[in-house]
Symmetry: C2
Subunit: 310 residues, 2 copies
Amino acid sequence: MLRTKITQLFNIQYPIIQAGMVWASGWRLASAVSNAGGLGIIGAGSMNPDLLKLHIQKCKAATALPFAVNLPLLYHGIDQQVQTIIEEKVPIVFTSAGNPKTWTETFKQAGIMVVHVVSSSKFALKAQQAGCDAVVAEGFEAGGHNGREETTTMVLIPLVKAALDIPVIAAGGIANGRQMLAAFVLGADAVQMGSRFVACLEASSHLNFKNKVIDAIEGDTQMSMKKLTPVRLLKNEFSDKIEAAENRCASSEELISLLGKGRARLGMFDGNLEEGELEIGQVCALINDLPSAASIVSATWNEFVEEKRE
Amino acid sequence: MLRTKITQLFNIQYPIIQAGMVWASGWRLASAVSNAGGLGIIGAGSMNPDLLKLHIQKCKAATALPFAVNLPLLYHGIDQQVQTIIEEKVPIVFTSAGNPKTWTETFKQAGIMVVHVVSSSKFALKAQQAGCDAVVAEGFEAGGHNGREETTTMVLIPLVKAALDIPVIAAGGIANGRQMLAAFVLGADAVQMGSRFVACLEASSHLNFKNKVIDAIEGDTQMSMKKLTPVRLLKNEFSDKIEAAENRCASSEELISLLGKGRARLGMFDGNLEEGELEIGQVCALINDLPSAASIVSATWNEFVEEKRE
């Protein structure tokens, strides 16, 4: 047992949080992580309000333990998703990709804890000022959407920790107990893992994508679309096309047109490994198996405890 | 006391190494670090063979303890520098920015230990195969010249550690004992700090530059000149000009012409903070004072020991 500010705040057994990832984190993954003693998160980014409601209800049926919903604040129809989360009495919301001022008060008044995802201590302070209960500080090595300052986990966590009073959850570059302990040494009160939980039996991602993550080696990801919104992707035909366009200084309009619609679903959910967008972190180079969520939580925790003892 | 593969290999007291930085690491800094129980390094990158000889001789006069020379392999006149290092019986050489096969054998036959600086486990393996005694694995957050794969320290160190039999020195994002311990948890046998030893009394860098490093905050550095050789710099007028040129897809020729000659000296040694090139790591955001080299070694070590005990 290790009580941290985060295990106490969320009332969970282990300070291990599964990131709410588009096209990967449905009720199956979230409930499995929560049942294993971590905090599971449903990723609302790829769901309309009806589907989100269904996933929340199924998650509640599958676990009596705390879970959360990740809500990217940049999509349309956000009001309805907020309403759904409140109606369904979800205990914790992780918000990302937007201003924490907009919705934190609404959630807090409904008795819901709010955690905001940030990439700098400036944004972390804004989240604290907006009334958030904790932040996820996510380094440059993380998969998916990312900050413009490119600060890595090694540098970001001590900076955010020093700037805040509320607890700090470290994300980016963490897939095992050693990396978890390194994050704790840097000042984290918990870790959030994304890539590790993509290569997991209960993730709803396509098996093609999971296998691609397992096979990926060092240097296989890159930060893409810096002109639009920076996002870390596995390199493939699609990312090569974007890179070529960026290298000839294509306009934002051209990049948006190249991106098209539904690329993330095409890659991560439909399993089209060449034309789809495949969001993953640098740490995929360290991931070589496809275990259950419960195995990931226990293996990470056991390695963390063992390394801590040394 | 903590015996690691590196303290045993180099016969030093603490596994703390000062990076050999152009325009910062002369005999004064190197001998001060070695006298404090770490490993000091003379940066040959900004020296002609005569000046290098002088610095080596002064360093030997100032310390009876082991020290090293950092030799970037990409400059002209490298043969003469190699000759100087051998003649002066420097015990350890850190090579960087080139192929470890070219000179390792020559140094080894002269009884000199060789450490090569790498940014990936692929290059680390090549260094091991070339007969190097250890590697420095340097993450994306590090200052100065950097790798193209952009792998961060958090991900790089476990990968390099798993790939090699020889010891691994972690670099990039390390400026205090907590970060040093995090690097050890990730698998490092020692740490190398650059930015921390720039903001140091004995560094030969211009006071303007030292003060700029102390004042720098999160987000003040960026990876520049990716089309030529990626290098992490403090943002200033010069880096803004390069960025603007990169954003309009300027040719390599135009970038080389914009860069001109002597930018690094102009910025870091002459103290021209706007037109000069200022190489520093992301971790400058955590550096706020200008202590002696001995204070840096002891403060880092004491914090490391204290954190380890917790």
